[in-house]
């Protein structure tokens, strides 16, 4: 696989006033390969949007290095290419936004044509290309409409057509589905996945919706307070999350926690322990609870269970209550880990147990 986007030690610092300095992005390095759907997740204010804006230099980093398609665009706070060249580079990186950002006083087809203004194409060729793009997103019959006459999902599809007009290699999606209802979100995600498969488009997906990530991403990076705290491929992040925040974001964690809260369990005795197990259903074929009893004689009851699709692969989440003394608990954990199951201990309220 070839690297298409490379960020090295990227910092973005804002000086809001003389005293107040905000480190929006700190020492972030990441490498995105051609054909990836690379998700960057984190709560609002984590610096995700600022980080991706350094890729097309809508935000010039204060420090660090940004390279796209092997070409270094910015180093140590300086832009290394001229204005004209930067405009050309940006046309190779499409971008879509939460608020769609279409031009409201121009028709749908003019919005798409706006992106093609600097090509050498003749007017009729531009029109052809625009209609082709609108067909790609299923909106050819809306060419003469104004954006305000379209639904949110349709507007986002126009924005995608516009972003793809210059045949970019990269598409940056900045919370593009966050303002849409579930049905439209589903449509847009399917469209992105299709574009990734059919055009080999590399997609950088910023979102706080884990469901979107699970559905289409193959790699995930987790951001917190301007820093990248964890990154890896989707399964690794999902099955073996290392950081607390990652656990909160991924896994059935949040659903499991709310289930545990409704159970109102009594304070656990020292002979009880709650474990959250996350595993790839394909790899773990035996029934875990039955195996625990058969092999180790340890009794476990199930408090919560769920299987969901992760980029089309089934992943299971189980929360079990294990009965047994400390030695037995330790044995159970060891056994489960040997089965390729990610184990984390929870307290009776579903919080991580330390």
């Amino acid at each position: 696989m070839t690297e298409i986007i490379s960020l090295k030690d990227v910092d973005v610092t804002f000086h809001q006033t003389k005293q107040k300095v905000v480190h929006a992005v700190q020492k972030v390095s990441l490498s995105i390969e051609k054909g990836d759907i690379f998700a960057i997740v984190g709560f609002s204010g984590a610096g995700k949007s600022t980080l991706v804006r350094t890729i097309n230099l809508l935000q010039v980093p204060t420090n660090g290095q940004v390279s796209v398609s092997g070409k270094c665009l910015s180093r140590s706070g300086r832009v290394l290419i001229g204005k004209k060249e930067l405009q050309q580079e940006r046309r190779q990186i499409g971008m879509i936004f939460q608020g769609f950002n279409l031009l409201n006083e121009t028709t749908v087809i003019e919005n798409v044509a706006f992106a093609l203004r600097h090509t050498k194409l003749r007017d009729d060729e531009i029109e052809q290309r625009c209609l082709e793009l609108l067909r790609l997103v299923g909106l050819q019959d809306k060419a003469e409409a104004y954006p305000s006459q379209l639904s949110g999902g349709q507007q986002q599809r126009v924005a995608i057509a516009r972003a793809l007009a210059n045949k970019p290699n990269i598409l940056i999606s900045d919370e593009a589905t966050s303002a849409l209802d579930p049905q439209n979100t589903e449509q847009i995600l399917k469209l992105l996945k299709r574009l990734n498969r059919e055009l080999g488009l590399t997609i950088v997906l910023i979102t706080h919706e884990m469901s979107a990530v699970k559905q289409i991403a193959n790699k995930v990076a987790v951001m917190q307070a301007g820093q990248l705290i964890e990154q890896g491929d989707l399964h690794q992040i999902f099955l073996h999350p290392k950081k607390e925040l990652t656990r909160q974001f991924v896994g059935g964690s949040s659903a499991a926690v709310s289930t545990l809260e409704t159970l109102h369990l009594a304070q656990l005795t020292s002979n009880e322990a709650i474990f959250q197990l996350v595993y790839n259903v394909k790899n773990v074929t035996q029934s875990i609870i039955v195996e625990l009893y058969r092999k180790l004689g340890i009794e476990a009851s199930m408090l919560y269970g769920n299987v969901e699709l992760l980029n089309d692969e089934p992943v299971g989440t189980l929360v079990i209550l294990v009965k047994g003394d400390y030695v037995q608990q330790t044995e159970a954990v060891k056994f489960l880990k040997a089965q390729n199951v990610d184990v984390s201990r929870l307290d009776e309220r579903g919080n991580l147990y330390d």
């Binding site: 809508l58 936004f97 608020g99 950002n101 006083e105 706006f114 203004r117 305000s148 210059n166």
Partner: protein
């Protein structure tokens, strides 16, 4: 009807239609001053409005020198009362149009009087354009002129027409004031031939004509702003 008019407004009729004191001449002078100062002042206003928005901190061509320069200039001219500006710029007027009286001479103070007012409103109108749209245009590799004409001016056009209407109306007011110092027009008729001669009928008719002009501008402006707006209400 005509007899009644002649009887009721004798001084109005006495002024005649053409000639130095005529109504036709006055109307033409008012329209002439409004039109040309709107063209010059409007151009300057849009240019300064654009400079203010583009060069402001975090603007797409952030430049603190140009921002502060135009900001101060606009504030300065806005602070001078128009009637004083008329006298104050007389030497400049002399240099540009080679005379200090008449409707052409009035264009200089009118333009200088209206442009800062308009520039501020253009600034507000352009700032109402969602910064996300500017960002989207930049992400598409748009040039500065694409962003100015297709994003800023076009997206704000309905708002621009609305403020232009307001500005034109206040400009009609300014031409009346310029009339008072010898530039002619309906303002001059109302004051020199009406008020100063105690001919109140002349003042009344001049006022009505100005009102009709203002009303026309308002109606046309509102309609245009409405027709050119495709934003969500």
């Amino acid at each position: 009807m005509i007899e009644w008019f002649v009887k009721t407004f004798p001084n109005v009729v006495a002024l005649g239609w053409l000639g130095d004191t005529g109504w036709g001449t006055a109307i033409f002078q008012t329209l002439f001053m409004t039109f040309w100062s709107a063209i010059f002042g409007g151009f300057l206003g849009i240019v300064f409005g654009l400079i203010l928005v583009l060069t402001k901190p975090h603007g797409i061509r952030a430049n603190s020198f140009w921002f502060h320069f135009s900001d101060q200039l606009v504030s300065l001219f806005r602070a001078i009362p128009f009637i004083i500006l008329l006298a104050f710029v007389a030497p400049v007027t002399q240099a540009i149009v080679r005379t200090q009286v008449g409707i052409k001479a009035a264009l200089v103070p009118l333009t200088l009087g209206v442009f800062p007012f308009y520039a501020r409103q253009v600034q507000v109108a352009l700032e109402s354009v969602d910064p996300g749209k500017i960002e989207a245009a930049q992400s598409l590799g748009a040039s500065l002129s694409d962003i100015i004409f297709t994003v800023y001016l076009r997206e704000a056009r309905s708002e621009l027409i609305r403020i232009s209407t307001v500005t034109l109306i206040s400009l009609v007011g300014l031409t009346a004031m310029a009339g008072a110092v010898g530039a002619g027009g309906l303002g001059n008729t109302a004051i020199s031939y009406g008020y100063n001669h105690f001919d109140n009928d002349v003042t009344l008719i001049a006022t009505l004509l100005v009102l009709v002009l203002v009303l026309l501008i308002q109606v046309i402006g509102d309609q245009l702003a409405k027709n050119l707006n495709h934003q969500k209400k």
